[in-house]
């Protein structure tokens, strides 16, 4: 009886280690590995052949035979699995969408399995390895005492790995992984390269698999290719999803409930028909549970959001009464309706928007766009566009639909490379540098349709944008919390204040997906400011936004400019522009039509012609009149 319980617990702990590893890959990072068990097998085989002596039995052959101590075997197994995982990731994973990645992982696993099964000199082929010496030096011991030893060992390992998972989850590294999982484009826009953190976590997950394999082989003394059929990987995945992916407690629950409990229940089901029926029923139950969970509770029994995102004491400074009132004061303008004429000046409360220092030799011009061209196929969206922007100004970019405004913003943010011409930022040519590099150079942006990491809390959505986070390094995240803890506290404080300044203090811990359209715009502004930009690009910050929120955005944009950040914004709302913009650039058909104050632009005859759809004073036929009417209506509406 005692042996029965310890045996159950040992397998439960080892399976839990595997599920915790899989959770790091799929739950934390969204990397779907359909062949997780192959890494367990690699760990087991490596642990075996490094600790066994050279083969003496004729007909049995395997590599190495180094007679190392057991612990060295376990660690080596983990390391080899980790390196193999990182290699597989490097070669295949980073290039493919995650469901194809799942299929490729299986193809790679098949090749490995095939090689192990067929090529005898490696791990003795399809017969597998037997009589692997256990920790006590003997082999094939299965007493209560021995399983108690392994239980203690695997429980310690499990505790260590859960602690590691928790560390990663709460660190900036974990936040970065979650953000990439939610929307890679956002993290790229803020200067993060996806594959680096992903390869690290894929390797760590594989390391856990390898360790689990090593522990398992020292428990059962034998291993053969039949022990790692594809089914095993899928059972682990099912356990993770049922328990709750993304949540390390969920991983433990899933491992114990779905794998262990079901196996135990299956033992008590009387056999009927042929011997395979009970096993088949068990698999059917697992399959049904998996489908039903995905359908009715996709976040699993213990959802990710049940985990605390950070320790409460980390945020303690933000709750000081003084800050509270400052936040309140900042929130006021949002609630209060504003007169439609000139904006009421609002002192930038306690918040200082941190702008980057200008390069001393940069002169007064921050951004100079010279003859930039970009075409999609044959259509020239930007056709030789040139203008420059001075430091600390707010420039409106307007023009009819199809004028090339958004394409220009995509070029400035680095997502598109200009096909000819030059973009000069602070005296340095930056055309085609890519979003990550542009972000590092101090360009931050908001998106035309707000992009958010909808399952993550608002505050994490904002914090992700902060540059140079020391805790994003996996090693620092795990083992050197002191190195980044203070920075993290400061960032959290800064994000909290920025969000309060934008009227979102009561939403800090809500998932971003629950925000309304206007709140999403505000959150995007906070996120962009968190990056401490030199240049802030805003693509229609007031599209689909309630008028009062537009006014709040207008005030904040002015204040942002006062603190030294240069702003370029696309807008169609003339009232909004008249509040915020120092001057406007009017674009039409990919070129700059005119540049000046909004009033001047309105009077300009080319601008009127462009908006009314009339080229050089000549009518384009019957359609033009309706376009003209709509155009005029829009302008009148905007101007009132």
């Amino acid at each position: 009886m005692l042996y029965f319980i310890t045996d159950l617990l040992v397998l439960g702990c080892i399976n839990s280690i595997m599920v915790v590893g899989l959770n790091l890959q799929y739950g934390y990072s969204g990397l779907l590995n359909f062949a997780f068990y192959i890494y367990v097998a690699i760990g087991a085989y490596v642990a075996a052949i490094t600790t066994m002596g050279p083969s003496t039995v004729p007909g049995i052959s395997y590599a190495l035979g180094w007679t190392l101590p057991w612990w060295a075997g376990v660690i080596l197994g983990g390391l080899v699995a980790a390196i193999f995982g990182a290699l597989v990731f490097l070669l295949t994973v980073r290039r493919l969408r995650s469901d194809y990645l799942a299929i490729v992982t299986v193809a790679v696993a098949f090749i490995v399995w095939n090689l192990i099964d067929t090529y005898q000199p490696l791990f003795d082929g399809d017969t597998g390895l037997f009589n692997v010496p256990q920790i006590t030096g003997k082999a094939n011991v299965s007493t209560e005492g021995y399983s108690a030893i392994i239980l203690a060992l695997s429980a310690v390992c499990l505790a260590l790995f859960v602690w590691m998972s928790r560390r990663i989850f709460r660190s900036p590294f974990g936040r970065l992984l979650r953000s990439i999982r939610e929307d890679e484009q956002v993290t790229a826009a803020f200067g993060r390269v996806s594959w680096k953190p992903q390869i690290a976590v894929f390797g760590i997950g594989s390391f856990l698999a390898g360790i689990a394999g090593g522990l398992l082989i020292f428990y059962i003394s034998a291993w053969s290719p039949a022990a790692f059929a594809p089914l095993e990987s899928f059972i682990l995945l099912a356990a993770l999803i049922v328990g709750g992916s993304g949540n390390y407690w969920g991983s433990l629950l899933g491992a114990f409930v779905l794998i262990e409990a079901l196996a135990e229940i299956a033992r008590y089901v009387p056999n009927f028909g042929n011997g395979a029926n009970v096993g088949a029923l068990r698999a059917i139950v697992i399959g049904l549970v998996l489908i039903l969970m995905l359908r009715y509770r996709p976040e699993g029994i213990i959802p990710e959001r049940w985990l605390k995102w950070y320790r409460t004491k980390d945020t303690a400074p933000a709750a000081e009464p003084a800050k509270e009132s400052a936040a309140k004061a900042a929130e006021d303008p949002a609630a209060e309706s504003m007169p439609q004429s000139a904006p009421r000046p609002v002192r930038p409360a306690k918040v200082t928007v941190a702008a980057r220092a200008a390069r001393p030799d940069g002169g007064n011009v921050l951004l100079d766009i010279r003859d930039v061209v970009y075409s999609y196929g044959g259509a020239r969206a930007v056709a030789g566009c040139s203008f420059s922007i001075d430091r600390g100004t707010v420039t409106g970019l307007i023009g009819p639909n199809g004028a090339g405004k958004s394409t220009l913003v995509e070029i400035l943010s680095g997502r598109l490379a200009p096909q000819s011409g030059e973009v000069v930022l602070d005296g340095r040519s930056v055309g085609g540098h890519g979003p990550a590099a542009m972000s590092r150079l101090g360009v931050a942006r908001t998106f035309q349709t707000a992009r958010l990491l909808s399952h993550l809390p608002v505050i994490e959505n904002v914090m992700i944008a902060a540059p140079k986070q020391r805790g994003e390094d996996p090693f620092a995240a795990l083992f050197w919390q002191r190195g980044w803890h203070n920075q993290e506290v400061a960032l959290r404080k800064e994000a909290t204040e920025l969000l309060a300044w934008l009227g979102l203090s009561s939403h800090l811990d809500r998932p971003a997906g629950s925000l309304s359209g206007g709140q999403r715009r505000l959150m995007e502004i906070a996120r962009a400011l968190m990056a401490h930009p030199r240049l802030l690009l805003m693509d229609e910050p007031t599209a689909g936004v309630y008028p009062e929120t537009s006014q709040l955005i207008a005030h904040r944009v002015r204040e942002i400019a006062q603190s030294g950040v240069t702003v370029l914004l696309i807008a169609h709302n003339m009232a909004f522009l008249s509040w915020v913009a120092d001057d406007v650039v009017v674009m039409a058909e990919g070129r700059v039509l005119t540049r000046g104050s909004l009033e001047e632009a309105r009077e300009h005859k080319d601008v009127i012609a462009a908006y009314l759809g009339v080229a050089a004073g000549e009518s384009r036929g019957p359609q033009a009149s309706s376009v003209a009417r709509r155009g005029r209506a829009a302008q009148v509406h905007g101007g009132e």
Binding site: G30, L32, L91, T92, R95, L96, R97, S98, D99, Y100, A102, I103, V104, V106, A107, V108, F110, I111, N114, L115, D117, T118, E184, P230, F234, L237, A238, I241, G273, N274, A276, N277, G279, A280, L281, A283, I284, I286, G287, L288, V289, L290, I291, L294, R295, P298
Partner: protein, 291 residues
């Protein structure tokens, strides 16, 4: 040289089986944008139904058709009960892939409950292998190649010239737009599952005839070869899938003729992965499906 050509001949047989399956997968992926992980088990199911019908004395070809109808019905059912609710909710393709894993557990083990795990013999004895030029093929092989060619031509005619084919192509291109043009996309998707099911059963029977035995995991073991062909050809591109299947099938048999036969599937996988490294979007560029 003769050795090589013979291997190419075997490769053509494998290719035609893989092509039928890959085109079925590709057709379904093109309208639903996810891989049905239970696809291999659908193949096994079709083969079991055909085997049972044939054992009851029903004509072989009629048995295959019955198998096809059964798999078609299973596909429609799976779509309604399992996949459609997810698609309505607009989940990520990964979720549908994992739901397919669950379905695969259910179908594969239901096969064990119904037909037991014992392997069954299923073969056609139509006489000895014939020398056709450099190739050495059995009449069964010839029937397989002929059936695949006929079905794929029929499918091409349907996709290219019928209204329903147009509806499938429209749905695969842009489901929302298709709906707003008055195409009943639910019906199109159901019918696509059904047609894919017909092809699947033929491929399943072909697979079993090639190996002469049938077990509950027969289809599952071929699943990734088929997915490999689909990805190689360009996802959601039925014609690409044919090309991918041709490459995978011939590669498997030709490599099997030169190195240890146990490695032949691995070599095919290896080449597929290597090709994908250079063309992640597949040989014929996949449509809007690569992130």
């Amino acid at each position: 040289m003769n050795h090589l050509l013979q291997a190419v001949g075997f490769g053509l047989v494998t290719s035609s089986i893989v092509a039928l399956a890959a085109v079925a997968v590709s057709l379904q992926v093109s309208v639903t944008n996810f891989f049905n992980f239970a696809y291999g088990d659908f193949m096994s199911f079709g083969a079991y139904v055909a085997w049972t019908a044939n054992n009851q004395g029903i004509n072989f070809y009629l048995s295959v058709v019955l198998g096809g109808i059964a798999v078609g019905a299973l596909g429609v059912l799976a779509n309604y009960l399992v996949f459609r609710p997810f698609m309505k909710r607009g989940v990520r393709p990964v979720t549908l892939l994992i739901a397919g894993v669950g379905l695969s557990f259910v179908v594969q083990n239901a096969l064990i409950l119904i037909w037991t795990p014992a392997p069954r013999r299923f073969s056609l004895n139509l006489g000895n292998a014939l020398h056709l030029g450099p190739f050495l093929l059995t009449p069964g092989d010839l029937i397989m190649i002929g059936a695949a060619a006929t079905l794929l031509v029929l499918l091409h005619v349907m996709l290219a010239y019928t209204k329903f084919g147009k509806a499938i192509r429209a749905t695969s291109n842009n489901i929302d737009l298709a709906q707003s043009c008055g195409i009943d996309s639910d019906r199109v998707i159901s019918l696509t599952w059904f047609i894919a099911g017909l092809l699947t059963a033929v491929a399943g029977v072909g697979l079993v005839l090639q190996e002469s035995t049938l077990s509950p995991t027969t289809g599952f073991t071929e699943l990734f070869v088929i997915f490999g062909a689909v990805i190689l050809g360009g996802i959601g591109r039925p014609y690409g899938a044919m090309l991918g299947a041709l490459i995978v099938g011939v590669l498997t048999e030709v490599s099997g003729a030169y190195v240890n036969g146990a490695y032949k599937t691995s070599i095919a996988f290896g080449v597929v992965i290597a090709l994908l490294l250079f063309r992640p979007q597949g040989l014929i560029k996949a449509r809007g499906l690569i992130s």
